[in-house]
Amino acid sequence: MAVTMTTAEHDETNTTTAPAVWARGLVRKFGKSTAVAGIDLTIQPGEFYGLLGQNGAGKTTTIKMIVGLLRPTAGRAGIGEFDTWKDPVEVKRRIGVLPEEFNLYERLTGAELLDFTAAMHGLKRDEAISRRNELLDLLDLENEAGKLVGDYSRGMRKKVALAAAIIHRPDVLFLDEPFEGVDALSARLIQRLLVRYTEGGATVVFSGHEMNLVERLCTRVGIMIAGRLESEGTQAELCARYGADTIEDAFIAAVGGDDDRGAISWLHDSPG
């Protein structure tokens, strides 16, 4: 049973400001299979929204449709007052997207990548240089600024990708697995940076599988199952709804995964 709060309910409670991120009846089909089956989503400014789901649940597809990288089969999505598919440039001005690390320009240096992103976002040259240096310094990349991104480790790529996503101070930041491969110290640093960022009124949409981070950071969580937004609410609401103590238990209860699977006789028997 879907228990997602309806769009009308959200609109009633927030009549004064446009939602930071919205989707209405978003559908995406690939041939005969349906990856996203009619999503209604409303995320308010200042929220740290966690989008959870099993692999293949449709999280990345949903985000791609909202940011304009994948055309929806049906439905609409947008940022603030702008529709992604009617005003793509206006939407892209307002968002930052942390791409998967292998989608970066590997033959640019870290400094060049940040300059390039800043220029595309229309930052002034001096401001771009100043922000780039601050970000490289903060993310411990100042000594690697002249190296090609292709020569970076996985964690360093995540960090430079994050810097590229926030250099223009977007209204909404989309993060897909942002802490994968990042060392603990940098991860803590990034978390602190993101929390301060949302405190300033910006919105973060976080998609990932690290439940402890979801518990620590997210103000609201949506759980996707088989292309649908099955459940949505604050962590306390979700825990209460599923009778769980933690968001991880609530998630597992929501996806119905806490069964007795995981026993394979040949795997558990000793070799030979």
Binding site: E90, K92, F116, M120
Partner: protein, 532 residues
């Protein structure tokens, strides 16, 4: 394991055909095209053989085997591979012995459209020597083994050199060297046959002595020995060819082993670049910065660098031809209008980039397309970089050709024709790039591919586009040529101005249309060019 790898290749091929409509058209078209070309070449070869005496005929088949081997080995590296090979890295953790891996990869290499070429060529050889059928079949199989193993070893060798950042320039030089030596060899053969006739040339340059031990020659000597009634020769040359195949297999296995256990490139302090970024100098607009990024990729991406250094091949060929006085260039040296060819010749160089503006982005397209840049600015920035590169190449080439031909006076027409040529090339390129972007092969699976995955369609798109660009250039070129031919009856300034306006109008019109298409098709372009 050999059968399993062959099955895997077959399955990948089948899945690719099922999933990709471009392949469904390109695959059979490619087989038909390759089959047709092979058939024509074989028919010409057999026609030439009929005019020769017995000794010359046998020597001629040895030369045929040698040339076939050289072309088979070198062409995929110089131009682009027709096949996608299995990626050996995928088997790094599989419990497969090195011998099994090499044999399996060799077997899988036989499941490819390009195999239609050896099937026709070797089939014709068997028919030609059908009166010594067993030896003909043995010779054909050995020659097939030699070309498959040699081709794989050479491609892997280039890949291995390419893997080391320090070696990339060496690999480029090798490719340039292959192109140059191929041209010189062709010129030399034409010169010799022109002087002595085919029979005389073959008999004057027999593949005897140490040359007889070259892999394809040894394999072909199996059947020529049978033809001469020498069973010992058949056995001996078959053993030599088999030894070659074993040696090539061993070398291939060593190379694969090295590649699987060596990281892609070793970052070093000496290779660290300036950390001043892109903001240090130059105009700070989205289009200009995008162009600056493109120019860096022209230099840093080995494949793009090869595309741009294609002009160097031509320059080297032109210079060497004039110096040795061979080929058609020797005749052109006396023509003072030679510099006017520079803009047209440069079209060959820029086409792979101009026709696939976003394909070169590969996965980074999804990074680029979430940036708030208008489609027109995207195309403009990329075109700006291509224009700079093409202008530099055109000017350099025009100066060289003026020096060769002494046609300094006609340099005055080059700027106009250059703008017209670049404008028309980019105009057609922008439309093709947004309507039919081509996915480039994943880096590491091919060496210098321009567009292999969609095979024949890529070739078709390039041919049609080149034809269209040529048509567009007919009028401005005619004005310039008429001006020269009629001894400046028209003002050179008029010819230049006309050509510039022509190029700019077509480019501007195309920019508007292509931007409008890109605005609607951005997600489709991203999904087409992404390689994983």
């Amino acid at each position: 394991m050999v059968a399993r790898l062959a099955w895997l290749k077959l399955r990948l091929l089948w899945n690719g055909l099922r999933k990709d409509w471009q392949r469904r058209i390109g695959f059979p078209s490619l087989i038909l095209l390759l089959g047709y070309v092979s058939w024509i070449l074989v028919a010409q070869f057999r026609g030439a053989m009929e005019s020769l005496g017995t000794d010359a005929r046998l020597q001629f088949t040895l030369w045929g085997a040698l040339v076939f081997w050289l072309v088979w080995v070198a062409l995929p590296v110089v131009i682009f591979p027709l096949d996608e090979n299995l990626d050996p890295a995928q088997f790094a953790f599989a419990p497969v012995g090195p011998g099994q891996l090499v044999a399996g990869l060799a077997a899988s290499a036989l499941i490819a459209p390009s195999v239609v070429i050896p099937v026709i060529v070797l089939g014709a050889s068997i028919v030609e020597f059908s009166h010594v059928f067993p030896a003909a079949v043995l010779s054909a199989l050995l020659l097939l083994g030699v070309i498959i193993f040699s081709g794989q070893v050479f491609t892997t060798l280039i890949s291995a050199i390419f893997k080391m950042r320090q070696g990339r320039d060496i690999a480029l030089l090798m490719v340039l060297g292959i192109g140059l030596s191929g041209f010189l060899a062709q010129s030399s053969i034409r010169g010799t046959t022109g002087r002595l006739g085919l029979e005389g040339a073959v008999l004057a340059n027999p593949l005897d002595g140490v040359w007889a031990f070259l892999p394809p020659v040894a394999a072909q000597r199996v059947v020529t020995s049978a033809e001469m009634g020498s069973p010992l020769g058949v056995i001996g040359w078959a053993l030599v060819a088999m030894a070659w195949i074993a040696a090539l297999g061993w070398a291939w296995q060593r190379l694969l082993n090295w590649m699987l256990t060596t990281p892609d490139s070793t970052p070093s302090r000496s290779r660290a670049r300036s950390d001043r970024g892109l903001a240090a100098r130059g105009r700070w607009t989205a289009g200009r910065v995008l162009a600056r990024k493109e120019l860096r990729f022209y230099v840093r991406d080995p494949r793009q660098r090869l595309v741009w250094t294609g002009a160097v091949i031509f320059i080297a060929l032109a210079a060497s031809s004039v110096l040795v006085g061979s080929g058609g260039f020797g005749l052109l040296a006396s023509r003072e209008w030679l510099p006017l060819l520079a803009p047209a010749l440069v079209l060959f160089v820029g086409l792979p980039i101009a026709l696939n503006v976003f394909g070169w982005e590969r996965n980074a397209a999804s990074f680029l397309f979430v940036l708030p840049v208008k489609p027109r600015t995207l195309l403009w920035g990329k075109n700006l970089a291509a224009t700079w590169a093409l202008m530099i190449e055109t000017v350099a080439l025009a100066l060289l050709l003026a020096w060769i031909s002494g046609g300094w006076a006609n340099l005055i027409y080059v700027p106009g024709l250059m703008v017209a040529a670049i404008g028309c090339q980019l105009a057609v390129g922008n439309i093709v790039s947004v309507v039919s972007p081509l996915r480039l092969p994943r880096e590491g699976t091919d060496v210098f591919a321009q567009a292999s995955e969609q095979g024949c369609l890529a070739i078709g798109a390039q041919a049609v586009s080149f034809f269209v660009i040529g048509l567009l250039l007919v009028i401005p070129s005619s004005v310039a040529v008429l001006t020269v031919a009629f001894d400046a009856g028209l003002s050179p300034w008029f010819a230049n101005g006309f050509a510039i306006v022509w190029g700019v109008i077509f480019y501007a019109a195309s920019l508007v249309v292509a931007s409008s298409i890109l605005r609607r098709r951005m997600p489709e372009v991203v999904s087409w060019v992404q390689t994983v």
